[in-house]
Symmetry: C2
Subunit: 727 residues, 2 copies
């Protein structure tokens, strides 16, 4: 629970980061003409507009990068606000001790050779961390390239930055060094600007979540783009993401790396359902974070949201001079939930008057190749379309200028478009047809005219689709952040120890545990002979199901251990013998406890409900269309715990098989309130069983009308106490 304490200290951390990112003087320690890192950093600080002093420190050289250098930090007249440390690994501690003595409070450590390289490095990093904590030094890195504060022109950053460096609304944080340069190039080639870019390094002290939290509260940042390798403080990360949502500041994430399924979870059906990184998806979506899967989508989506915000609605009017491109766009729009209603009659009449006789006034509009003759046709048609109340926004295409060509006609088109956009009652989003650089000439037009062309149909429509999703998520989120969980009926943390429970608990043992905690189970009585099975069946009346009872056996059906729908007591007797014969033949090693006899349940729907422990995110609830088809259906909804009953109802609504709950094909419709309440109770029970619980899997949970019953269940515990996972 350490990160909960950290959240309380968030304002302090924010002001520490504000100081880190806004130094008035900087010393480059280890500056030398021999190092490209040194020359890059010095050039970046000088070229990007940093106005304060840049001190150069080198133990021997008197002149570095053509300027005077000092031998040590204490030779400076006054200590700098920030040190940028690029000395050899062994020299880092002595330098940082001097930093501590001088009372310097901010450091970027570029030097590698710490936590990333094994036991010695880890020890060295621990020493550095202790020193920094004792002297309240804020340290970015080690093994990180630094940051770019574009609005302030402060660029203590070790890789080359090609000018112009534009400032803008996009805050970027990356758990990668080299990709930071990819991001810098991308924004440069697409007329976007940065509020802050921060390359994390080892996160010894300043963490990815700290920077996210800073960006959420940074007034220059209107959208946050993150490249993540691992989320080390998941609960705190989600808290910051929810604050971003409450502040209506979109967070776009490219998260790499697959979540491995634990050995324990792989044993059970849930393992086949959450085998990819579905848990990451569920966690991020739950916090209103936009997840993308390519660097292109990361930057195009962030750029769109940063410059335009979310669209007012889903209805797009599209005006183009390319029938083909408008068809590609129409397919992509359909896939992204962007609607293309047709023009209103008045608009159609005005457009028909404008178009050549071989044109056709429908949305998406192709003004035809006659645009070759009349270069203003597209913009004039757009000028008509913007007045149509059928649309929430307009889209049109622009071309990027070609270096070395005569672009004057193109520029006139951009200017006409900007004029239409300026007087339009709805937003107008220009796009290039494919993702392409718009050149520095195009970027200059873009800045001057306030047009930020979306990066192609493919990635641009992805951005629109995600922006519309985000808008709905933000609309549901409270405007103010709440940490209260009072409204949440399920527990949010393991609160028990599962005393005495070990290993895999098959059906009978699991039934005892779940029954003792008040969950509804189908009646079940153990028979130890065919005659006893027959007697129990007669007492139960109606059809029965027989299942072999042997706790070490996980997949009973596979060895002939299950017989369903036995309608007469004598059938039960025969089935008993049959089951014992089959199971004994298949698994002679097993000790059978007998055969369990239950009343048959049929005609309703069957779900799988499980709680598993994700190594990063902690307890995860899975609800799936269940029974024997569960792996084939692959129809599931996931949520991190805690959840509300409303969340569970929403999960049920996400299932493709939800029609089965509504009594499709002649069944009785499920009482969804009752069902959601039982699922919530299952989730709570899992948490009460403590952090050693790996899996609680109910499959099937039978539901028909108000009748909701666990027909079979399984519990898996770690043999050793594990960490609480995700907290």
């Amino acid at each position: 629970m350490a990160d909960i304490a950290d959240v309380t200290a968030a304002p302090d951390r924010r002001s520490a980061l504000k100081a880190l990112f806004h130094p008035r003087s900087i010393a480059l320690v280890g500056a030398t003409d021999n190092s490209r890192w040194s020359s890059n950093t010095y050039t970046n600080l000088r070229q990007c507009g940093f106005l304060g002093p840049v001190h150069l420190v080198h133990p021997v050289r008197e002149v570095v990068h053509g300027a005077r250098a000092v031998r040590r930090l204490s030779d400076l007249d006054e200590p700098p606000d920030l040190v940028y440390v690029m000395v050899p690994t062994a020299a880092v501690m002595p330098v940082m001790e001097e930093v501590a003595r001088l009372g310097i409070r901010n450091a970027v450590v570029l030097t590698a050779g710490f936590g990333e390289v094994g036991a010695d490095g880890v020890r060295l990093q621990e020493e550095l961390k202790t020193l920094a904590a004792a002297h309240k030094i804020t340290v970015l890195g080690p093994n990180g390239n630094g940051f770019i504060n574009a609005p302030a022109g402060i660029v203590p950053y070790g890789l080359p930055v090609t000018l112009p460096l534009r400032s803008g609304p996009i805050g970027v944080m990356l758990q990668s060094g080299a990709l930071a340069s990819t991001a810098v190039s991308f924004v440069r080639q697409h007329a976007m600007g940065l509020s802050l870019l921060c390359s994390m390094g080892n996160e010894m002290q300043v963490t990815a979540t700290d920077v996210l939290d800073y960006l959420v509260h940074d007034p220059h940042t209107r959208v946050i783009a993150l490249f993540l390798e691992s989320i080390r403080e998941p609960r705190r990360f989600l808290q910051a993401a929810r604050e971003a949502l409450a502040a209506r500041k979109p967070v776009v994430v490219l998260k790499v790396g697959q979540t491995a399924v634990s050995r324990r979870t792989a044993l059970v059906h849930t393992g086949a359902l959450v085998g990819d990184d579905a848990v990451n998806d569920a966690a991020l979506r739950d916090a209103g974070v936009i997840r993308v899967h390519s660097f292109e989508d990361l930057m195009v989506t962030a750029g769109f949201l940063g410059y335009y915000g979310a669209p007012p609605g889903r209805r797009a009017g599209v005006v183009t001079a390319s029938g083909g491109a408008s068809e590609i766009l129409a397919d992509r729009a359909a896939a992204e939930g962007v609607e293309l209603p047709d023009f209103s009659d008045a608009t159609r009449a005005r457009l028909t008057e404008l178009l050549p006789s071989f044109g056709s006034a429908h949305n998406p509009l192709d003004v035809t190749g006659y645009v070759v003759v009349d270069g203003s046709l597209t913009e004039r048609a757009l000028g008509i379309a913007v007045d149509d109340p059928a649309f929430d926004f307009l889209m049109t295409f622009v071309s990027a200028p070609t270096d070395g060509a005569d672009n004057s006609r193109l520029k006139a088109g951009w200017e006409a478009l900007a004029a239409v956009a300026a007087r339009s009652p709805h937003p107008v989003y220009p796009a290039t047809q494919t993702l392409q650089d718009i050149s520095q000439e195009g970027a200059a037009w873009a800045e001057a005219l306030g047009l930020r062309p979306l990066g192609g149909i493919e990635h641009g429509l992805s951005a629109l689709g995600r922006a519309l999703w985000w808008k709905e998520a933000a609309g549901r989120a409270p405007l103010e952040t709440t940490t209260a969980t009072a409204a949440r009926p399920t527990a949010h943390e393991w609160d028990g120890r599962g005393d005495g429970l070990r290993g895999v608990l098959g059906e009978q043992a699991a039934r005892r545990v779940l029954q003792s905690r008040g969950l509804p189970l189908v009646p079940s009585r153990l028979a130890r002979s065919g005659r006893e099975a027959s007697r129990i069946a007669a007492e139960l009346g109606g059809p029965v199901a027989l299942k072999v009872a042997a706790d070490a056996l996980l997949h009973k059906t596979d060895v002939g251990g299950v017989r369903l729908d036995l309608r007469h007591p004598e059938d039960a007797e025969a089935a008993y013998d049959d089951i014992v014969a089959h199971v004994t033949a298949a698994r002679p090693d097993l000790t059978l406890d007998g055969v369990a006899v239950s009343p048959m349940r049929a005609g309703g729907a069957e779900l799988l409900v499980s709680v598993t422990r994700d190594p990063a995110w902690g307890p995860v609830l899975t609800v799936a269309t269940g029974g024997v088809l569960v792996e084939i259906l692959q129809d599931r909804a996931l949520r991190l715990l805690p959840v509300t009953v409303a969340d569970i109802r929403q999960m049920l609504g996400e299932l493709r098989g939800r029609a089965l709950l509504d009594g499709a094909r002649g069944g009785v419709a499920a009482d969804r309130d009752r069902l959601a309440a039982v699922i919530a109770a299952i989730a709570d029970t899992a948490l009460q069983l403590g952090p050693r619980l790996s899996v609680l899997e109910v499959n099937p949970l039978y539901v028909s009308g108000r009748e909701v019953e666990i027909l079979d269940a399984l519990l898996v515990f770690e043999d050793q106490d594990a960490g609480a996972g995700g907290s």
Copy 2:
């Protein structure tokens, strides 16, 4: 069957297109300084290296584009090989009559106002077509921009082309005018070159399939990229695509537009399975065509295959200077079936020696940020990795030069990379990290060094994945084209009339039709009273199923018309009354024929098998995991007819639910040979029912061991004779 005749004439068509695309002299008819089309075309012809005469024809002006013009074609000393016609619509016929008189054999008609604008235009186009046919004039268009023959420098093309125009292995055909320019820009910005680009227009005479067929046989073309709006000659198109596959020349298609489900198909379950453009997918995949969904993927995939061909295998070694980018690549590789085996021990030892101490020698390799100090690190590491037999190919990243920056260091890196690639025993594929222009400077390096950087991780890995898929498809295809269908046991064309059959045929009527054609059906006897139902049940012995018999009723379960698994004759009697009561209450309008009694089938697997008529592709076979879950499972395989029994077995293997056929969960494994034979017989029966059949749907087809039985079926006929569909 008109297109079969066309196939016979294919060599004639090919030589006609060869003449069209290789004129030695060209006349621009309607040339004028007032038209940008005219100036574009004239400039393109002059700048791109066309060496023959370009004649300008205008009825009044004597000087056009600074050169002498003539008034009419007959004023020329000798008739040109090709006329490029851009006169007003009304003047096209007179010009073309003159073309015919002069014996000119090739024309591009840019002018619009023909088939695309309603009845008058259609009439005019028919006149033009008749004239062209009578005089054997090959006409591209009307309403098309022309073509670009890059290797010959022949560019009669109406939109601007920015130089340099590179020739290369990519043949492009587009059913769109403006997108052609997008393609031209894309290849220019990514150091690719064209063999031919053809913008189709109205396809009055030269069709998209003609151009595809030409490109298949064009020696300059090593890969074919198509933008398709509609496939007008589907069977002939597939024939050409299969010839491309046999010739090992990949075809990449961006096909827009969703296939609408016909009203008739929407009635039945199949409608919910093939509602999107799944039939296009199936048809193209079946012919070995690579289908993509973005213009970026179209061009990046074509470029990769054109320059590198398919990779020798799936095992990639990756050498980068960016840990983050290599992680993005690893995720994409996993999604595309590209394997990343680790380095062999010997390679790891050599790499460990090379890397700084904080590096780690694993695939994908990050040579670390030390590359800032040692600029040759990546290329030296790659030089080690290329010798590792663990890999089929290598990947690495390159950066594009930045306009206005000092790119000398970058260029040295490209040169070092090219040197490694030249001596590597495996192909080396360089890629940029994101899709970006590589600038004309980069393109010059690319040409000189033989490096064609893949367009980013996202689109580049899509290209690799599709290339690997194509390679497998090509490996299965015969090296020589066969038109023989002898090996194909199902019919390939409707061969009956379904005489007398109209509208919707429910279960009982459908049974009669299918039974008369020898298909295996579950026994079924009609009861007209509860007592009769009871008697039939007793005679059948064992559990029975009762289903209401009323031909106008499609969804019997929904109105309580089905009762299953009745084990005693008295249960059947009660069920009869129950069914009649329910159905009569729900649908008082219906006339019931009685209630059908069948032996109960349970414990096996259930499939849906249907043949529907796609408006473009003709008869389509769908096999799906069936029964009441069919819509929820959405688990289907499609093929155009005809199919072989081997195709059907492959379809079964594509189902997610194939485990059900293998007796998962205690069932009896299906005899797949028997099952495939029955499905083939169902497909043949559908075709024998003639072209008015809209739908033959069997759901479920019950299978358990060798027992394969139709439990329920439905036939839907058009009331009017329809075309044969797809032929």
